[in-house]
């Protein structure tokens, strides 16, 4: 069933995209393979776009979603079957070797696709929001910054899979959509490189640590690489041909990118600036902007209608509503001064602008997650080859498509570095393929006349070898799960941080209860209402250290409708709850101890056995009004 639903969603994306390519008349120059991959990109975005109106109208039932997929799949009749593809030569030994490695990666990723979801961000919102929308039959507004009131265009494509094929279809769909960027990268590389080189570049992308980390989860950066590549290609074609259809396609795709994440707006600016560098700048700029607006406006209108700020919480201090219990102007100020600065540890100066890639590759602060979830060693190892290649062939670069890719990627990086909300390196994954293409082509050209091939081959082999090893280590837990036939619950206990309280809570509390917890990775599994207790993301219950009054805490818990609090203590560590107000309240009858759970906390799911801590979680019941703290 799950495989069938995923196949139907693939066909639907292909069909919807083929329709877009036909309407824009940009399918003529593409070979059948290129046409299918570009159709998938456009259809993937369009599918997410089309689910939004269904959600707003309260039509998120199985029938409507199945109908949408079937109607989209009909568009597959527009896919090209004949084209200008040159007859393929047989693969040589190196090509077979690279293909074998790609298949090994596919095996790793299939194991992840068949396992239950485990990534914390996916369980906090990428998968949880679609689940909530389906349960409600409509899109619900989630008032929470960063992972609540955000654009959800890509997550909208998760809804048909989850609704029709369940959790298995959802994880398989993320596997498929996580692989699509590698296919598009291969297709784009083939315009500049031979088959073996293109396979190697696609393999390097697939095994990049940040891609291994995110592609098979609900996280969207890898999937956004589809939009970045397709938009850069379309912008390049617009500049090369002067035709408006390519500017329209670029606008459509960056609109989808913006509809997927605020960061897409930065890319839209970068791509738009490059597109304007031509004689027909006004006409191209207008159609580009109009299409981007059409494709990307949905979630900004939705969030703006509910908070007053279309870019919530970026402009909340000026445009935000004053009647929101969960988000006040004071909370907004606290969030921006405390939380957001924490996300940007590197000074945003011109010097660090150039040093940041080296720092992120070699020795980065933990918060930017560049060590375990970084972009791998390829860029650093191949840098001198690419630089020498670019210098040697500098006259050919002018006017080349690769220069356009470089300009878009560089501008995006500059805008992201100086104005982005976070310096997490995985946010650069969308433009990684553009960097890989440019570096690979420049290095290949330098070494094409039997020069410097040995050190370049060593750099590529080291990159692929290291990254394949990382992929194998990360995938072990999924392969063991599949091979052992262990139950879903057993997998979750082993792989989800602090999962232990969930089964009891679901069995003993009801929809009329409301849980207050800081364990956001549990949201996906909770079958009762809850409120995230982070002091950064809600103002209804003040959990900051400076608020120490238990009476205030009790009053706020009651006002927010909280019936139970889940709070943990390190075994053999602290004996009091955090913050102090919660500890003081727990010493009164207003917060009664209901049950304790022994749980396991770990910083890494891959190394959960060796890097873990034992935690005791207490479930506390909020007393009625007579308790008087």
């Amino acid at each position: 069933m799950a495989f069938g639903v995923v196949l139907l969603e693939i066909l639907s994306s292909l069909g919807l995209g083929a329709l877009v390519l036909r309407l824009l008349k940009i399918d003529q120059e593409l070979s059948p393979g290129e046409h299918a991959v570009f159709a998938f990109v456009a259809g993937f975005g369009l599918l997410g776009w089309l689910v939004f109106p269904l959600g707003v109208l309260g039509l998120l039932g199985k029938g409507w979603l199945l109908g949408l997929l079937i109607v989209g799949a009909v568009g597959c009749v527009l896919l090209k079957r004949k084209g200008s593809t040159a007859p393929a030569e047989p693969l040589d030994a190196l090509g077979w070797g690279l293909l074998g490695l790609v298949l090994i990666v596919a095996f790793f990723d299939l194991a992840e696709g068949l396992a239950p979801p485990g990534d914390a961000d996916s369980l906090a919102y990428h998968f949880t929001a679609p689940k909530q929308f389906l349960e409600a039959g409509r899109i619900k507004f989630i008032l929470r910054p960063v992972d609540g009131a955000i654009p959800y265009l890509i997550q909208m494509t998760y809804l048909p899979a989850l609704a029709l094929g369940g959790e298995q279809a959802l994880t398989l769909w993320t596997m498929v959509s996580g692989w699509a960027p590698a296919l598009l990268l291969f297709v784009l590389c083939r315009r500049h490189l031979g088959r073996n080189w293109s396979l190697a570049v696609a393999l390097i992308f697939l095994t990049t640590p940040a891609v291994i980390y995110a592609a098979g989860t609900g996280q969207i950066e890898v999937r956004m690489a589809l939009f970045a590549m397709a938009a850069a290609w379309a912008a390049a074609r617009a500049l090369e041909t002067g035709r408006l259809r390519y500017a329209m396609f670029a606008g459509l795709i960056v609109g989808f990118f913006g509809g997927a994440k605020y960061m897409g707006l930065l890319f839209a600016v970068a791509c738009g600036l490059v597109l304007l560098a031509q004689r027909r700048w006004l006409a191209h700029g207008l159609v580009y902007g109009a299409m981007a607006l059409l494709a990307g406006f949905q979630w900004y209108a939705w969030n703006g209608a509910h908070t007053g700020d279309p870019f919530f919480p970026v402009l909340f201090e000026w445009f935000g509503r004053d009647d929101l219990l969960l988000w006040t102007k004071e909370q907004d100020h606290y969030f921006k001064t405390v939380y957001m600065e924490y996300e940007r540890p590197i000074p945003r100066t011109p010097l660090w602008f150039f040093l940041f890639p080296f720092l992120a590759t070699l020795d980065s602060p933990a918060i930017i997650e560049a060590k375990n979830v970084g972009l791998g060693p390829f860029g650093l190892l191949v840098l001198p080859f690419a630089a020498l290649g670019a210098w040697t062939f500098r006259r050919k670069i002018l006017g080349s498509r690769l220069l356009i890719y470089t300009a878009i990627a560089f501008l995006f990086y500059a805008i992201w570095f100086f104005s982005g909300p976070s310096q997490r390196v995985r946010h650069l994954v969308p433009i990684l393929p553009l960097l890989l293409i440019c570096f690979a082509v420049a290095a290949e050209r330098l070494c094409s006349q039997n020069r410097f091939q040995a050190p370049l081959a060593a750099a590529l082999a080291a990159t692929i070898g290291f990254q394949m090893f990382v992929g194998a280590v990360v995938s072990l837990k999924y392969a063991r799960h599949i091979a052992s036939g262990e139950s879903r619950e057993a997998f979750l206990h082993k792989n989800i941080k602090n999962y232990a309280p969930v089964p009891w809570i679901n069995a003993n509390l009801s929809k009329s209860d409301k849980l207050f917890t800081s364990e956001r990775q549990l949201f996906y599994f909770l079958e009762i209402p809850y409120l995230f207790s982070s002091p950064h993301t809600q103002s209804a219950v003040n959990m900051r250290e400076d608020q120490q009054d238990p009476v205030v805490l009790y009053r706020q818990l009651k006002a927010a409708g909280i019936t139970h609090v889940l709070s943990g203590k390190l075994k053999g560590g602290e004996t009091a709850y955090n913050p102090k107000s919660l500890d003081l309240l727990s010493q009164t009858k207003c917060l009664e101890h209901l049950k304790s759970f022994d749980a396991q906390s770990f910083g890494s799911r891959t190394f959960a056995k060796s890097l873990r801590a034992e935690i005791t979680f207490d479930l506390l019941k909020v007393g009625d009004e007579k308790c008087a703290p």
């Binding site: 070699l362 060693p377 650093l380 190892l381 001198p384 020069r451 410097f452 080291a462 190394f607 060796s610």
Partner: protein, 39 residues
């Protein structure tokens, strides 16, 4: 390979070796957990 290219080749070999070593050095604390996992 021409005489002009030989020093460039040496530089590229040294770069690849040193850059790879510098990159891998940051994972020195992962050796134990990785061995535990594989065991």
């Amino acid at each position: 390979m021409t005489n002009r290219e030989k020093p460039i080749a040496v530089f590229l070999w040294v770069w690849v070796g040193l850059a790879l070593a510098a990159y891998l050095y940051q994972f020195r604390d992962m050796i134990g957990p990785v061995l535990d996992l594989l065991a």
